[in-house]
Amino acid sequence: MFAIDVLLFIGAVLILASIAIAKASDNLGVPTLVLFIAVGMLAGSEGPGGIFFDDPALAQSIGVVALIFILFAGGLDTRWSDVRPVVWQAVSLSTIGVILTAVSVGLFVHLVLNFSLLSGLLLGAIISSTDAAAVFSVLRSKNVTLRSPLKPVLELESGSNDPMAVFLTIGTIQLITSPHAAVVDLIWLFIVQMGLGLGIGYGVARLIVLLLNRMKFSYEGLYPVFALASASFVYGLTALVGGSGFMAVYVAGLVVGNSYIVQKKSLFRFFDGLAWLSQIGMFLTLGLLVYPSRLMHVIVGGLLVSAFLMFVARPVSVFLATSFTQWGWREKTLISWVGLRGAVPIILATFPRLARVPDAEVIFNLVFFIVLTSALFQGWSLPAAARLLKVDAPLRQRRKYPIEFEATDGVDAELQEFIVPYNSAVVGKPIVELGMPPNSLIVLISRDERMMVPSGGTVLEPGDTLLALVSREQIPRVREILSERRSKEDSESGEF
């Protein structure tokens, strides 16, 4: 028996169990990430599973890889037209807001739990970011839909504030471990990291888009592979030259997702699946890593910090960071409530352990506890909070694509509806005589209560609505055809 056989078997069982539990708890409204962590804890050394796992370095690697794909998929799925109007608000939340949260939690921990100031700030930095995976999974669940601009703000915030938290954590660890580090250096480091992240993320993404559209892969299956490798490439390249890889990969996802690319739908589906796998894998690992018995020691402290974070630090940060906006208190209160912490803090909490910072063990357990309470409590109550604050939007209907078309390499066309003008020259003519340009096709005609798939002999009537597959370049030509007026004699022959 090989080790890999055991590993595969156990891994598969855990993932299948996670999926089954997520499905079974559909109606409970518990954030799925809590369930995945719970599966991991049950399977772990103190649960019935009894799997011994105590390798923060491996957990951290898994977490980083998973986060890359979650952020890339999150970026892909974020529509620029939705977030464009709220970019500054989100940026303010993910910079000023994060710093305010980190500092206020740091001071609280220092004063109330008797941590040293730096250890307190480290804890604050670790839990300063809202978690993209947690926020996305709650916002995209079936239980809640928020009014614009709340949803785009929250998504953009949670995607873009992780790099900030990563930076603050690493910076604080540096302050703790090397006495010579100065705050000024950190500011410079921040500019370099974010600048490189933005620049490389954007630049490489443009290249990815260009290549995706230009390279004609012989096998469709290669497109997602190409995108997958590109996402890792963006992260790796940026991190190697000293930039923020997380920032770069999120920006790259945003750029690629909002560009015209071939195979878009299949790429999206691929990354959607990959993001789920990453989430499950990451939370399972983190659940395995924690020892529930050690969490017991930090219950009181954990609850105190958690409550302070939810009811004081986050709201104060949100209200201050958005004080320049026109939003009312309802919107700001809701944003405050969607301060879900998730995997990022737990992954970050492994950093001090690996750097052998004093208090690292307590910090890890505290962070774990805070994440659990925040995800459970805030995630669970979000739909109710949204309704109470009257900022919820009605649930979206399940997506149906009765007529769906995917842009494919070589077919640069889209579905467009046209109404046949009442006295157009095409009225009374069979389709075959219209002279529709090449690369265009009338796929459906709606007339009164009927929808029909036309044949060349189908005769058009005034007011017919045509659904046509037309390339962008041919739209003017189709417009010309439909807009040609009937000659005088024809129009006198009466109205239809």
């Binding site: 939007a393 209907q397 109404i419 046949v420």
Partner: protein, 156 residues
Amino acid sequence: MKIVEILNEQVVRTNLPGTTKTEIINAMIDLAATQDRVLDKEKMREAIFEREKIMSTGVGSGFAIPHGKTDAVRDIVAAFAITEQPIDYQSLDEQPVRIVFLLVGRDNMVGPHIKLLSRISRLMNREEFRKRLLEAHTPAEVLEIFRQEEESHFEV
């Protein structure tokens, strides 16, 4: 779906002021956006003007049907108006427009959207029906004319 089911007195006007095509479309959008099924008015506006660029929705005989598909609405959004003055709408037959129907559908519901488009544009091709609409004085009258016409024209 019936046309009378998507209209109500709040979104119908019988003497909509305005002198240009853009003014009229914007006024219709204001009218429609009073309903809470419109989630994002500006995005809806964008979709409508985007569609208008592809081909004028002035389909002739003094009737225009500005429309669009977007996820900025949660359900079908409609508005109907008789304009105070005849409007130059760049219609194919160059006739000025007096009757305007605004229809916005969700972008994932192509079927119902084009069905309604054709139902409206087919109905509006009847001269006698247009005359009756132009003579209506109140939104309630407009709705009643629609109801009668749909009953006589369609089985459903």
